[in-house]
């Protein structure tokens, strides 16, 4: 198990009801595994999966990325700035 800090923004933040939390990620410690850990607690997130982008330490990365303990991750909903 690896603990990462997950940050939430926009509609995902409203759905989770928090700005951040510690997530315990199971093997294989990927972004997908982190999403699974979060979706187990917040099943309403599952339909969002296809539109979310993963950021690790403030960089967009694929969901296959293997996370390190202590990483700052975020599942970003479609951006709507401008």
């Amino acid at each position: 198990m690896r603990n990462v800090t997950a940050l939430f923004f926009g509609p995902v933040r409203e759905l989770v009801g928090a700005g951040s939390m510690t997530l315990a990620v199971d093997p294989p410690f990927t972004g997908d595994a982190a999403f699974e850990a979060l979706a187990a607690r917040f099943p309403a997130l599952r339909p969002w999966r296809g539109s979310l982008r993963l950021a690790v330490n403030r960089e967009y990365v694929p969901f296959e990325r293997v996370l390190d303990a202590g990483d700052e991750i975020s599942f970003l909903p479609p951006v709507s700035g401008g």
Binding site: A55, S74, L76, G81, G82
Partner: protein, 129 residues
Amino acid sequence: MVAVTSDPINVDLILRDLGTARTGGIDIFIGTVRDTNEGKSVGSIEYTAYVPMAEEQMRRIESEIRVRWPVENVTIVHRIGLLRVGEISVVTAAGAPHRAEAFEACRYAIERVKADVPIWKKEFAPLVG
């Protein structure tokens, strides 16, 4: 210069910082809060951001622009917080020796902001009464 700010955006200050002796033209895009979206009336918009990542993405966009066009200066500023109709939400600008690269760089900046910078808007209907 790139920034995410909760203060009102001052276009005069941005323009003052953009020009140099080698600048022949400045192109500026100013995004403002519109009173309708998808058929619904809008009274205000709340913008939120993943601020450190947003500023890193903006710096990346600036770097990409400097590789592609011979610009002297690039500015990308996005405001966050609650904005009313008509207020400025975003400014992208480029100063360059010639207008063609200034226009292209400025357009590139706003399109990349809208695609990749982690900022979100939430619209609120006007207060009635």
